[in-house]
């Protein structure tokens, strides 16, 4: 799994500054810190297909909104709020494949700024925002670590821009709304067994995503897409969710997004692309968001072994899911009852508890004792749900909307402010300012008022080093070792351009579980040059052969 965030970007004092340009400064500044040539390597778009729909059809390119077309570097996708392919060839994983060299350098422009990092992440400009897409990880704690590393990457980039007298100051925010109608995303990605029917994913995950807001919401001052009503709500994104299921991500945003672009062998996996979530500064919020969602997906992947548990969550279908997104987000008491298709009326907390109990009973049903990471998620999930029902204030160190609301309510009480006072809106924005000296989340962290899950040293390491237990290890380490000879990369490929070789060599990585430290460390360490590595990959103990 992984998480990708489009950061808010501003030039202080110049609201009309060109955000595409500012974003490209950020990405280019960080690219300059990367010693490897891949800092200017192209993204390999061959396997990207944002128009492939999980429901089994393919959106025609000409009928797609331009902002959805994110796979063409010569034409960066415009912002979703402005007026308005081919299915990839199947390749066998394993040995490198020859590719022709292009006679001239491909066209690059600022909107296509793109860096692949030695930690396996991608940093680029998307929709007039700088975006960090984390490397693939396998545990909720690792998500937190590499997500926080992304904040650090962005912060370092902005600092480099700041000290360059030729460039404007840039401030970055990890949030999802500007309060004037614009929203930008934080997307979770989960690798899911292709055998799970997509309709089951829709049925089981819709009520889950609608109600998990009680512990995933980042909090927002203002209600309605342009904040037309004064007040506070749990989620940043709730007012921009307009459909139950759909392919689009920049307009008519759905609860369940159907983009079916697995970045892996499509016969074995799909990538569930989740766009309903908020950007979280609080580590426990990110941990729970990704941890609980993975466990519900586990239920679906094991549905044959856990029929009772799956039946229990399938019965949670809501009568009006889209309306419920907003109901849950606007209910600070968490007591509103949602109508279920079977006639029951349950609160968001009760629905979440049904999922928790289903996962617990599913683990028993399948006779799978939870591993340490699973047990940690289950215990925290249960503890937070219990305390949200009995003593929500006790969750202010873990649940982001409560941490933010605590500050806002404090200000309201002390300074007698009504909800439409601009100071409260300013607090909401400054909450996610990445600068430790200015960001309000960071001031709380410094004061010990929010919980930290991963230590700062691990995050610093993750700025440069990839996770060890996915293909991100191969991507990141290969870039660090042989970056000078890598001309392009993507989630599931590296393209080597080795001096003297007749053609480019493309190494496909269609299995995200391959290319781990255990698989390829020896291969990488024992190769003195990229050409040697490629030779070994061609051999019998190649990339996928090494066990």
């Amino acid at each position: 799994m992984g998480i990708e965030t489009e950061y808010g970007i501003a030039e202080p004092g110049r609201p009309m500054a060109n955000p595409m340009l500012l974003s490209s400064y950020v990405v280019a500044a960080y690219a300059g810190t990367q010693l490897h040539r891949a800092a200017r390597a192209r993204w390999d778009y061959d396997d990207e297909d944002p128009l492939q729909d999980a429901r089994g059809f393919h959106l025609d390119r000409a009928s797609a909104h331009p902002s959805v077309l994110t796979d063409d570097p010569a034409h960066p996708a415009p912002s979703g709020d402005t007026a308005p392919g081919d299915v990839p060839a199947r390749r066998r994983p394993g040995a490198p494949q020859s590719r022709p060299r292009l006679p001239v350098e491909e066209y690059e422009d600022p909107g296509a700024a793109n860096v692949i990092l030695t930690n396996g992440a991608r940093l680029y400009v998307d929709h007039a925002h700088p975006e960090y897409s984390s490397p693939e990880v396998t545990s909720p704690r690792d998500i937190v670590t590499w997500d926080k590393a992304g904040e650090e990457v962005m912060l370092r980039a902005a600092r480099i821009v700041a000290v360059n007298p030729a460039l404007p100051d840039v401030t970055l925010y990890k949030n999802n709304v500007d309060g004037k109608g614009a929203t930008y995303g934080t997307h979770e990605n989960y690798l899911v067994d292709r055998a799970v029917p997509f309709a089951e994913i829709v049925d089981v995950l819709t009520p889950f995503f609608v109600t998990r807001t009680v512990f995933t919401g980042a909090g927002r001052v203002g209600i309605g897409p342009v904040g037309q009503l004064a007040g506070f709500q749990l989620a940043q994104r709730a007012d921009y969710i307009e459909a139950e299921v759909g392919l689009e991500t920049t307009l008519r945003r759905p609860i369940i997004n159907t983009r079916d672009e697995p970045h892996a062998d499509p016969e074995r996996w799909r990538r569930l692309h989740v766009i309903i979530g908020d950007a979280n500064m609080l580590e426990v919020a990110t941990f729970l968001k990704v941890g609980t969602s993975s466990l519900v997906l586990w239920l679906l992947e094991h549905r044959d072994a856990v029929p009772h548990a799956v039946a229990a969550v399938r019965s949670l279908r809501l009568v009006e899911p889209v309306g419920a997104v907003q109901l849950v987000s606007r209910d600070l008491t968490m007591t509103t009852r949602l109508a279920l298709a079977d006639g029951r009326r349950l609160t968001a907390l009760e629905i979440q508890r049904c999922y928790l109990e289903a996962v617990r009973s599913g683990l028993e049903e399948a006779a799978t004792p939870p591993d340490a990471a699973t047990a940690e998620v289950l215990d925290r999930w249960e503890s937070v749900l219990t305390r949200l029902a009995t003593d929500p204030a006790s969750c202010a160190r873990e649940v982001e909307w409560l941490a933010k609301l605590r500050l806002l309510e404090g200000l309201r009480r002390r300074d007698h402010l009504s909800w439409d006072h601009p100071r409260l809106a300013a607090v909401d924005i400054q909450w996610s300012d990445l600068r430790p000296e200015r960001g309000l989340y960071h001031r709380l962290l410094e004061a010990g008022a929010v919980e930290r899950l991963v230590d700062a040293e691990a995050v610093s390491r993750a700025v440069h080093e990839p996770p060890t237990d996915t293909r991100a290890y191969f991507r990141g380490r290969a870039l660090a070792r042989f970056g000078a000879e890598i001309s392009a990369a993507s989630w599931d490929s590296l393209i080597f351009d080795v001096p003297g070789a007749a053609t480019l060599q493309r190494v496909a990585m269609r299995d995200p579980w391959r290319g781990t430290e255990a698989h390829v460390r020896e291969l990488l360490d024992s190769s003195g040059a990229a050409s040697e590595l490629l030779e070994k990959l061609m051999g019998p103990r190649g990339f996928t052969g090494a066990a």
Binding site: G8, A182, T333, A393
Partner: protein
């Protein structure tokens, strides 16, 4: 916990309404903690909140 719904409770129970309960000490301690946090952030809050908020304009994304 409060939010916007704080002041709506007190009308329906009249006859044997209990004496207003003084906030539990835990809540007092929390208020004190919040006040300390507010002092901590007062120094970094944008001094001209209105123009700061007005100037925070983003393009829509995904």
């Amino acid at each position: 916990m409060s939010g916007q719904q704080r002041s709506e409770r007190h009308h329906d129970d009249d006859a044997d309404a209990p004496e207003p309960i003084s906030p539990p000490t835990a809540a007092q301690a929390r208020d004190t903690e919040v006040d300390a946090l507010l002092e901590e952030i007062d120094g970094v809050l944008e001094s001209n909140a209105e123009s700061f908020v007005r100037g925070f304009v983003q393009k829509g994304g995904q």
